[in-house]
Each structure stands twice: as C-alpha cells, then as structure tokens.
C-alpha cells in the first residue's frame, strides 16, 4: 500500500508538488496525468526515495521513504523518465548488476535474469551493449530492470514514451499482465493510454491534484458524454429542427458534423433517430458519443470546472 500525506516539494519559491495526499491499494493501476512540468515525475521521485520531500511524507507498505529509504526501495520497481541505463554494459551484464543490487538470492540471480530477458523479448540483444540498441529495446531494458525482482509496487515514469504503436501495445500488454495483485503507478501525457491501462486516474497540474477518478468517471464528466453526432444533408436546417426537442440542450456544427448535447434526461439518441425517420433526412453517419477524455483533460487543467 502507498500512503501519501500532504506531500510538498519546493525549489526556492517554486512549488513543484503542492500538498498532495492519496492512498493506493493493491490491484490498482493508477495513471498520473498532467501537462509537462505538472509535478508527476517529482512525485514519483519522492515515492521512490530519490528526492526528499520538503514537507509531508510518503509511506510504502508503512515504511516512511524519507526516513528508511533503503528498506522502502526494496518493495519498489522503478523506471525513471527516459529509462536511463549504463550504456557501455551489455544487456545481460546490466541485468546481473540490477539483480544483485536488488538483493536477489545468489542462486536465483542467473534464473531471474534469464526469465526477465525472455519475458521482454531481449534474447536477441542479450550480448549487445545497451548504447547500441534502438529506443524500443532500451525502453524494454528499462522495464526489465524494474520488474526483475517481482516488486509489489511498480512505478513507471512515461513507460511508452517514444515507442512506435506496436511497441506501445506490447508494453501495455506487459503492464496489464502484471497488474493483478500489484500496485502500478504510471505517468503519461497520452490520454488513450490511461483509458487502456488504468483503473484510476489522477490529474495533476502545477503540483496540485485536480481530479481523482476512474477513467470512465472522467469521461462521464465530458460535455460530449451521451451526446449524439450525425452527418446529414443541410445540417443547419436539421440543427434548428432538432433543437426544438426537449432532450436537446444545445447543438454544435463543426466540420460538417452536427453534435447535439443532452439535457440530462435520457433518450436523446432515441428521440433523434425518431426525428430522422419522421422527416426522412439523408443521414450518412450517426453515433452516440461516449465522452472525450482530451476535452475533460483540457477543461480540468485549464482551471475551469468540467461541464
């Protein structure tokens, strides 16, 4: 379990992290979401014991990270931002170093290195110097060192940053496989990733927590949640006709697509379809909107309350 109590980190007068409090339980995959410079990495650095908080505390399984850093670190696997590693070492040498540093039993070191190399498909580059590897491989090396000791808590700072779509998918699959009984915290500014991976989302900006919800909960906050979008001939005419319906709160026409916002009463979609059949409009596309995470993110981080 991770408990964060009024965590603050200041650099001079600049507050990188400002009074953050939350608890994360086993089985949760928590996504840290926020613009660049929001304090995501700084928070992670304090959770992993790299930085000391200015005030407040972070507890890893009841151990205060600042007071008993080494003991707390034993429970954590950490992928720092940019996945740094010792470039002159081969993948295998590096993994052996990490395995020993993670205090894995002497007799199990070789096994755990082999296992993690296989798990992350690093077999073909096992004897190559890390600095000669492609970005995707380097990232996988970073992930491998984070999970080699099968930690209960996994903290990953932008794990898929700079990867191509296939590699992203692969890494997400890996994270999902490990998620069952662990605590995983990932930071990202890729919104789709949060929806794909996390069961809890925190939006952070300027060091402050602005939202703490499930991905679905956030999407539900969207203006577009349960809205209906359609592409139709003579959209202006249709828009004014549909605006008369009691279920329609407003209409928006953008790039030839007409979006109708719900009033809160259910049945907007049914009412719209009924109107279409009745008036025999020529509709070429019609869909029910789930909500748009990017719009919610934008509204929240710009300091406006989400609609």
């Amino acid at each position: 379990m991770i408990e964060v109590k009024s965590l603050c980190k200041s650099y001079g007068i600049f507050k990188a992290v400002d009074d953050l409090s939350f608890t994360v339980e086993a089985g949760q995959v928590l996504g840290f979401l926020g613009p660049n410079g929001a304090g995501k990495s700084t928070t992670m650095k304090m959770l992993t014991g790299f930085l000391t908080p200015t005030s407040g505390a972070a507890l890893i399984n009841g151990i205060d990270v600042a007071e008993n850093s080494v003991a707390a670190r034993k429970n954590i696997g950490y992928l720092p931002e940019g996945a740094p590693s010792y470039g002159e070492m081969t993948v295998q040498q590096f993994m052996l170093f990490i395995a020993r540093a993670r205090l894995i039993n002497k007799s199990d070191v070789a096994d755990s290195v082999d296992r993690v190399i296989e798990k992350l498909n690093l077999l073909e580059v096992k004897h190559q110097a890390i600095e000669t590897l492609s970005k995707g491989f380097k990232r996988r090396v970073g992930l491998a060192q984070a999970i080699i000791h099968d930690p209960q808590i996994l903290i990953l700072d932008e794990p898929t940053d700079g990867l191509d779509p296939n590699q992203k998918r692969e890494v997400r699959g890996l994270i999902r496989d490990m998620a069952k009984d662990k605590i995983i915290i990932i930071s990202t500014h890729i919104l789709e990733e949060v929806a794909a991976l996390c069961n809890r989302v925190m939006i952070i900006a300027n060091g402050k927590m602005l939202a703490d919800d499930t991905p679905q909960g956030l999407i539900d906050r969207s203006r577009y949640h349960n809205a209906v979008s359609l592409v139709v001939e003579a959209p202006e005419k249709v828009a004014s006709a549909l605006s008369e319906l009691p279920q329609v709160a407003g209409a928006e026409l953008r790039e030839g697509e007409l979006t109708l916002f719900p009033t809160g009463d259910a049945g907007l979609f049914e009412a719209v379809t009924a109107a279409i059949t009745e008036n025999q409009w020529q509709v070429s596309a019609l869909r029910l909107e789930a909500g748009r995470l990017d719009e919610v993110f934008h509204t929240i981080t710009r300091g406006e309350a989400p609609a």
């Binding site: 014991g49 790299f50 670190r73 720092p80 020993r100």
Partner: protein, 244 residues
C-alpha cells in the same frame, strides 16, 4: 558489503568495456617509463634503486588520477543513471565506496603492470627490495588520496571537464602544501602551529617518507584520513544534491 562489491564490479566492468582502461594503462606505463629513464636518469645514476621511477609519481597522478575520477559521478549525473542507482536498495556510502575501490583497484593494476621495472633493477644490481615495496605501497596510498579528492569533485558537477579541472586544482594544493612556494605565503605572520599543520598536509612529504622505506604509522594514518575525509564529503554532497 555485497552491494559495495556489486557497485565496484559494475564500475570495473565499465572501465574495460570502454577504451578508458586501455588508454589509461598504456599512457601510465609509457609516462612512468619516460620519466624514470629520461628525467630520472635511471641508468646514468648508477644506483640499483627505483627512486627515479617513484619520484615522478605524484606529478603523474596529478593529471592521470583526475582523468579516471572525473567520470565517477559526473557521468552518472549526465546520463541520469544516478536516479537508477539511488532508487536501488543501495546506500550512498555503499555506492561511494564501491566506485572508489573500483578506481583504486584499477590504479593498483596499473602499478602492478610496472613490475618489470622492479625485475629490471634486480637484474642490474642488488636493490633494497623492502624500500621498493614500501614505495609501491606509498604510491598506491597517495593515488587513493588523489582519487578521493577527484571522486568528491566529480560529485559536484555533471560536467566531466569541470570535474577534471577542479580535481587538478585541489590535488595540486595538497601536493604543494609543504613546498616553499606555498609555505612562504604563510611564513612570518602565521603561528608555527598553523605552519606545521599546513606543511603536514603535503602529499609529497608523506610520500617521500614512505618511499624511503620507513612505513611510519603516522603516514598511513595521514593517507587514511585524507581518503576518509574526502569520501565523507563526497557522500554528503551526493545526499544534499542528488538531482540536477
């Protein structure tokens, strides 16, 4: 203990995975040779000893040891691996000691590779081998002192060139503190106890004492204290500013 050895082993592997180790070893051997034979008149003197060889070690170390130590921490900072290192369950002391011992052992290796000099002088005459052994020990201890200073300086920056220059300056002051050009600055106004204190800080004096073949406990303690002091400063600097 295991963590210290692990860090040390990683560091040593790093030396030999890059040209650093080989370049250093070759330059060290060539330079010690040049100094001993040309500047030290190894043959012309007609004595069977290694004094011309050891006499130039302090000056060689002044440049070569900072070249080894400059990357110890500056490189970790530049590449961001410092964040990896200090989120592993390794204490700062273990990491500092591991890196220091790696570099110290490496210089020890370089010294071992000069053994043909020792063999040669035994072939040419009958030197006092006890004195030579003591001088080797003294040289290695002095290298440790330089190294501890260099390691500490390397921790202050992420730029290896800055680390290199800072190390040379501080090492230079420690080297010269017993010589007239430093002592004359203090002569005449500073009380005798301070003069003695400054003079006793000199690497040169303590190294000269040991290389005469007299292994005095005070000289050993001196180098031990120098190494301990700078490594402690190294730990404190890292603990105070790990990031940036």
């Amino acid at each position: 203990m295991n963590s210290t050895i692990n860090v040390m082993r990683r560091e040593l592997t790093g030396y030999f995975a890059t040209p650093v180790a080989y370049v250093f070893l070759v330059i060290f051997l060539v330079m010690t040779g040049i100094f001993a034979f040309y500047l030290g008149n190894f043959y012309e003197r007609g004595y069977a000893d290694l004094d011309p060889f050891f006499r130039f070690h302090p000056w060689l170390y002044l440049f070569l040891v900072p070249a080894i130590s400059m990357r110890l921490w500056a490189e970790e900072r530049r590449s961001g691996t410092i964040e990896l290192l200090f989120t592993l369950p390794i204490t700062t002391i273990q990491a500092v000691l591991g890196k220091f011992f790696a570099a110290w052992l490496f210089i020890g290796m370089a010294l071992v590779l000069t053994l043909p000099m020792w063999i040669t002088v035994n072939y040419l005459g009958a030197p006092d081998n006890g004195v030579i052994l003591a001088a080797y020990l003294g040289s290695w201890l002095m290298a440790g002192g330089f190294l501890a200073i260099g390691s500490c300086m390397s921790a202050t920056t992420s730029n290896q060139v800055v680390a290199f220059i800072l190390s040379i300056v501080v090492c230079f002051m420690f080297l010269l503190s017993g010589l007239p050009m430093v002592m004359n600055l203090f002569n005449g106004w500073a009380p005798q106890i301070i003069l003695d204190g400054i003079a006793s800080l000199s690497f040169l004096k303590h190294f000269a004492d040991i290389s005469k073949g007299v292994i005095d406990l005070r000289d050993l303690v001196y180098f031990g204290l120098v190494i301990g002091f700078w490594l402690l400063a190294n730990v404190l600097i890292l603990d105070m500013k790990k990031a940036d």
